[in-house]
Symmetry: C2
Subunit: 168 residues, 2 copies
């Protein structure tokens, strides 16, 4: 069984343990593959380390209480674009097949609705990450456009980045 | 005649004088309309105030040496997405008809090429800002997708945000 709750700073070591292999692999995430823990933290935890003090970060935890997926929930743009939430998830590779992504996404959609957001947007879903694309489609997201060649996959070479969107 | 050169911190008062009415109008730019000068500065000038110390910011200056348009030039994404430059321009309303946007964009495209970027991307061009959309199209950018209703225009209501892209 999974539960989803707001992240707290004490979650960071577990979250980084999930994020680090994803970042190092460079297959699904637009981050510097060599980034260290300090550079990885802003944006993935609330509080002074984050760029936005109002940022809410949710975390899925398994039976043992271990964090298996962080999900920040900021507005995707400022001002006249602030009614659209940004979608961003990182799920433990071990937990990938266990519905963690879906559980976390469903909770995040519900929280975003409750916070008054009118839509949600992914800015960069790697086209070759078919499991993720399929999951977001099954949750009501459409691909509104694909930036050609915008992601350099270590094995597959240049591939596209989907912008995915759904109304709430 | 216009010249384009790297921005320096001393340019800030003039740049803010250009940016402030654009931000307050809320018609073309995704920023908090009430933001103060301090919140407006990060990202638009190099140095310790910016989120990325490697950020280069270019500025177009007119005959009198006055800044009429800042243009930061960071990567649009990290790691496997870092070969695509972000495009972002703010042009003085007074200078809007004088080719400032075009001159600045042409220089930025050339600098981006020189820096080794392979493509350039706008993340959020307001669909109703037809002059900007037309200018970027004339410079070789295509609309790769439009996020429906992602921008709330003060007079026109909900409108789309284009993602625009060109290879370099």
């Amino acid at each position: 069984m999974l539960a989803v709750r707001p992240a707290v700073p004490g979650d960071w070591p577990e979250l980084w343990a999930i994020m680090e292999p994803v970042v190092r692999a460079g297959e699904t995430y637009c981050g510097d593959r060599e980034r260290d823990e300090g550079a990885g933290r802003p944006g993935w935890l609330p509080g002074p380390a984050g760029p936005d003090p109002t940022l809410r970060v949710l975390v899925a935890v398994d039976d043992g209480g271990a964090g298996v997926g962080p999900a920040p929930l900021p507005a995707n743009r400022g001002g006249p674009g602030s009614h659209v939430a940004n979608a961003s998830f990182l799920v433990s590779a071990d937990a990938g097949g266990g519905g963690v992504g879906r559980a976390l996404a469903e909770y995040v959609l519900q929280e975003a609705r409750r916070a008054g957001y009118e839509a949600m947007q992914f800015n960069a879903v790697v086209e070759t990450n078919v499991r993720a694309v399929g999951l977001w489609r099954s949750l009501g997201f459409d691909v509104v456009g694909t930036v050609p060649g915008a992601f350099l996959h270590p094995d597959l070479g240049y591939t596209g980045l989907h912008i995915m969107h759904r109304r709430l």
